[in-house]
Amino acid sequence: MSIEEDNVESLSRKDTAHKLPLLWVVLFVGLIAWGVYYFFAYTPAFSGWTQDKEIEESLDKLNLN
């Protein structure tokens, strides 16, 4: 019995093989930019933010400390 062979080439479209949807690229770049911002904003060594400080401040606001 012969093995039924796939034509691997036919699994992908030729005309759009190299296309990257513009909106997707914008999303990707935007997320990376956001990631850089978020990393700097929430890393103690860069911005001074710490989760301990955050909880202290939220308690101060409620006058519960």
Partner: protein, 464 residues
């Protein structure tokens, strides 16, 4: 043609095994869902929630999940490499070892032996068995791909290769332990390091057991069953490499607001959110593939499995990352929202794509058509309804629970007792049992349709 090929027998062997473990895992899932709202459904020491919960997750992840993945991978690999498996006898022997390993692992969980690491509960002797099974599998996969007769590497092969490599690394590292006795060991890492390694493993188990292998299936079976080629090869490859690169950093999002260093949590969150892009690369590729002819959703019964599957993948990869954000994590962490999230991934994405792939494989191996499209459609709708109701129910009660936990009076005391927040779960937990039962009935339709297709194919073969 009187008999199917040795490779096809191997594929079917793994599929049958995965179905067997699937039925057990699902029924135990149903039982523990009842135990959540009625403790009288705990029986003796072996059938209590504490033990059965780990049986449920491990039997389904390793028995159903890995069993199905090994079978389907072997099928895809022989097609995409245009050759037979390099070591068919090894694959047969491995099938036996696999079933013995899962059986032994299941029994030890019933007996209460556990490493107390989520999704890595198996004690060290079972771990060694699992590693042997995986290495034998890897030898066959990598060997066959390395000696392939088709030069072009289709994207599914990349996803298969990364699954094989990543699962090995993850499983071995997180199961490193200091052995005390035959049935007891201690995690090599301690304290925060233990937690960090565990969630690096835990999250990537989801990534490399429930994401990359299912994407391998999706990229192969969507074009095969619809006859519509994948929209963009480049998009699929960029999505692949960026997904694989980013996934391995994300584990720390399970430890938000824990004592692990703030920068580590933040880094985990960053990669978690950016991961939306590579995940959605595959979602968009799937939609764009079917875009030239959406009528395929009606005319080709498997199309809707894949498109709904990738839709749940898309929702999962938006919901998941958002859960990593500090504000959202603080509301839903430790609540029933989380099982709602997990089950959209497993019951929606994984099950829809895997069962559709199995339908396709069985009809090809036995050179026949599906026993009944009507039954397959019934399977589809029941599984879909069961899963959606399950997930939504858990999300609602999860938010309710989290909001109640966080409510306090003017003097700073908690507004609700823990008991009040728990009792509120009962109607939702009962609803989950009902929707879980609907899902299981759907899976029984699947089982019946698949087996009857094999029977039909065998009959046609012998009459030829």
């Amino acid at each position: 043609m009187k008999e199917i090929s040795i490779d096809s027998k191997i594929v079917m062997g793994y599929i049958y095994s995965s179905l067997f473990w699937g039925v057990i895992g699902l029924l135990i899932g149903l039982l523990i869902s009842i135990q959540m709202w009625d403790p009288d459904f705990n029986f003796g020491e072996y059938f209590t929630f504490g033990r059965l919960r780990t049986v449920h997750t491990n039997v389904l992840a390793y028995g159903l999940g890995i069993g199905a993945e090994m079978g389907v991978f072997y099928y895809i690999i022989t097609k995409l490499t245009k050759r037979t498996l390099l070591f068919p006898k090894l694959a047969m022997v491995n099938l036996v070892i696999f079933n013995i390993g899962i059986l032994a692992g299941t029994i030890t969980l019933f007996m209460g032996y556990t490493q107390s690491l989520e999704y890595a509960e198996f004690e060290w002797p079972i771990d060694i068995g699992i590693v042997i099974i995986w290495v034998l599998f890897a030898i066959n996969v990598i060997g066959t791909v390395a000696t392939r007769k088709e030069k072009h590497m289709y994207v599914s092969l990349w996803y298969i290769l990364v699954t094989v490599v990543a699962v090995a690394i993850l499983y071995i590292v997180n199961n490193l332990a200091i052995i005390a006795t035959l049935t007891k060991s201690y995690h090599l890492f301690s304290g925060l390091n233990s937690a960090n390694v565990q969630w690096w493993y835990g999250h990537n188990a989801v990534g490399f057991l429930f994401t990359t292998p299912i994407l391998a299936m999706f990229y192969y079976f969507l074009p095969k069953s619809t006859n519509m080629p994948i929209y963009s090869h480049r998009l699929s490859i960029i999505s692949f490499w960026s997904l694989v690169f980013m996934y391995l950093w994300t584990g720390a999002h399970h430890l938000v607001y824990s004592p692990i260093p703030d920068w580590l949590q933040t880094l985990g969150i960053v990669f978690t959110i950016v991961l939306v892009a590579p995940s959605w690369g595959s979602v968009i590729n799937g939609y764009m593939t079917v875009q030239p002819d959406w009528s395929k959703m009606n005319s080709q019964y498997l199309t809707k499995f894949f498109i709904l599957g990738i839709t749940f993948y898309g929702l999962q990869t938006l919901q998941g990352p958002s859960q990593g954000l500090r504000a959202i994590s603080s509301l839903i962490h430790f609540t029933d929202w989380v099982p709602g999230h997990v089950h959209m991934g497993t019951m929606g994405w994984v099950v829809l794509v895997t069962t559709a792939s199995m339908y396709y494989i069985v009809t090809k191996i036995y050179n026949t058509t599906i026993y009944s499209e009507k039954l397959a459609n019934t399977h589809f709708w029941l599984v879909l309804i069961g899963q959606v109701v399950f997930s939504i129910t858990m999300w609602i009660t999860g938010i309710r629970q989290g909001a109640m936990w966080k409510s306090y009076n003017d003097d700073g005391t908690l507004m609700y007792t823990f008991m009040e927040t728990l009792v509120g779960n009962y109607p939702y937990w009962q609803m989950r049992t009902i929707s879980g039962a609907v899902f299981i009935v759907g899976m029984l339709f699947f089982l019946f349709t698949l087996i009857m297709t094999v029977v039909k194919g065998k009959r046609e073969m012998s009459s030829k």
